[in-house]
Symmetry: C2
Subunit: 212 residues, 2 copies
DNA sequence: GTCTATATCTCGATAGAC
DNA sequence: GTCTATCGAGATATAGAC
C-alpha cells in the first residue's frame, strides 16, 4: 500500500494538493502547480499523465488524511456524553485546522458525486473511513440499552451531527453576511460552536429527569 | 423593479437557469444555453453582453425565489414549538422541490463567496432575505421571555438549524454511500428528516419539566 | 529525466452581412 | 434583431532535442 516516491513526485503532490484544494478541480492550473512545485510543467505529465489523473490521486490523499485524522476521536467504552463531546471537539478542531477541506469535497460532490462516492465506498471497505458508521452503531446501541432517548432514527441523528459540524465551514461567507459579528474571529466562533452544538444535540437525547 | 422582457429574453433566462443550476457557473456552456433556449448563440451576447453578466442575472433570480419562498413559513405570534416545526417543514419541503438549489449556492460560495455575499447583503437590505435574522430574533426574545432554555448563543442555534436543513441536500451522494438505505427514496428520507430534526432541536431547548 | 516549443482544443466573444 | 463565420485567449497535452 505504501509507495516510495521520488522527491520530485512528492513536491508535485504537495503543490498539487495546495492548488486543487484552493482552486478546485477546474480552477486549478497545471502551470501553477508546476510553478509551486518548482518543476517544469511537462514533468507533471511525465509523472501523472493527465490532470484528471493527478486530481484523482490528490483526492484520495486528501480524503485519506481526513478520514484518518478523525478516526482517533472515538472511544467506544465511554458514555454518550463523553463520546459526543469528544467527537464534536475533535472534528471541529480538525476542520478549523483545515477549513477548506469540506468545500474541497463539496465541490467534487457538485460534479455529480461519482468520484466521491467511489472513493469513500472503497475507504469504507478498507476500514479507513469508519467514523460515521461507528457513531451510528454507538447511538443505536446506547438507545437500545436505555442510556439515551428520543432517537427513533439514529441515521437522522448522525446526519444532523455531521451537518452541524460541517455546515459552518461551507457557508461561512454567507453566515458572515447574515449574522454580522463584532469580532470576526473564526477561532472564537468555532469554540462557541463546539459548546453550543454539543448542548443542543446532547440535551435532545439525554434522558429526561437524569440531571447527573 | 419589474422589467418587461421580450419572449426571447425570457426563453434565454429560463434555459440559462436550468443549465447554470445543473452545471454550475464554469461548467455551463453558452452553446448549451442557446440550444435549450432555441436561439442563436450570438443572441445571448446581444441580450446579456457576457456570460458573467448572464450568470449574475440568474444568480439574483434564483436567490430571490429561494428567499421569497421560505419567507412565508414564519408566523411570529405562534409559540416556539410551532414556529420551529413550520420552519423546518416549510424549508425542507421547498428544498425537496428544488434539491439542486443548495448546491447551486454552495458552488458559488466555493468561488470565494464574493457574489453570494454581495447579493445576499443587498437582499437583506431590501427586506427580501429576512428569515434567518427573524428566526434569530424570535429565539432570542423567547429565551429572554423564559419560553425556552439552554440557548446561550442564539446564532449558534440558528446555524445548527440551517445546517440541519441544508446539509442533506449537499451531501446526499455521500450520505447514500455511508448509510446505505433499503429504500432509496428521497421523499421518505426528507419526511423522516423533518420529524427527527424538529425533535432533536426542540427537545434541546424546551424547558425541562415542561411536558405539556 | 528534463526542458522548449508547439500542437490541439475548447469556448467566449465579435465582426459583419442580411 | 438575427445568423454565419471566425477570431483569439487560455488551457492541456505532446513531440523531440538534450
Amino acid at each position: 500500500m505504501i509507495e516510495y516516491l521520488g522527491p520530485k513526485e512528492e513536491q508535485i503532490l504537495h503543490a498539487a494538493m495546495q492548488v486543487f484544494v484552493e482552486k478546485g478541480r477546474h480552477g486549478a492550473r497545471m502551470q501553477e502547480i508546476a510553478d509551486r512545485a518548482g518543476v517544469n510543467k511537462a514533468m507533471l505529465h511525465y509523472y501523472f499523465r493527465s490532470k484528471d489523473n493527478l486530481y484523482a490521486t490528490i483526492f484520495r490523499m486528501v480524503l485519506g488524511r481526513y478520514a484518518r485524522q478523525f478516526r482517533l476521536s472515538i472511544d467506544t467504552s465511554a458514555d454518550v456524553e463523553t463520546i459526543l463531546r469528544r467527537f464534536i471537539d475533535g472534528f471541529l478542531e480538525m476542520l478549523n485546522r483545515h477549513p477548506r477541506l469540506p468545500m474541497f469535497i463539496v465541490r467534487e460532490l457538485s460534479e455529480g458525486g461519482a468520484i466521491v462516492g467511489r472513493v469513500v465506498g472503497e475507504m469504507i471497505e478498507e476500514g479507513i473511513f469508519t467514523v460515521p458508521r461507528t457513531m451510528l452503531h454507538i447511538i443505536e446501541e446506547r438507545r437500545d440499552r436505555g442510556e439515551i432517548e428520543n432517537v427513533d432514527d439514529a441515521v437522522q441523528f448522525v446526519v444532523t451531527l455531521l451537518g452541524g459540524c460541517v455546515y459552518f465551514f461551507i457557508a461561512e461567507p454567507l453566515i458572515g453576511v447574515i449574522f454580522p459579528m463584532e469580532e470576526n474571529d473564526r477561532d472564537a466562533f468555532v469554540a462557541a460552536r463546539k459548546e453550543a452544538l454539543f448542548r443542543h444535540l446532547y440535551l435532545g437525547i439525554k434522558k429526561r429527569g437524569d440531571d447527573s
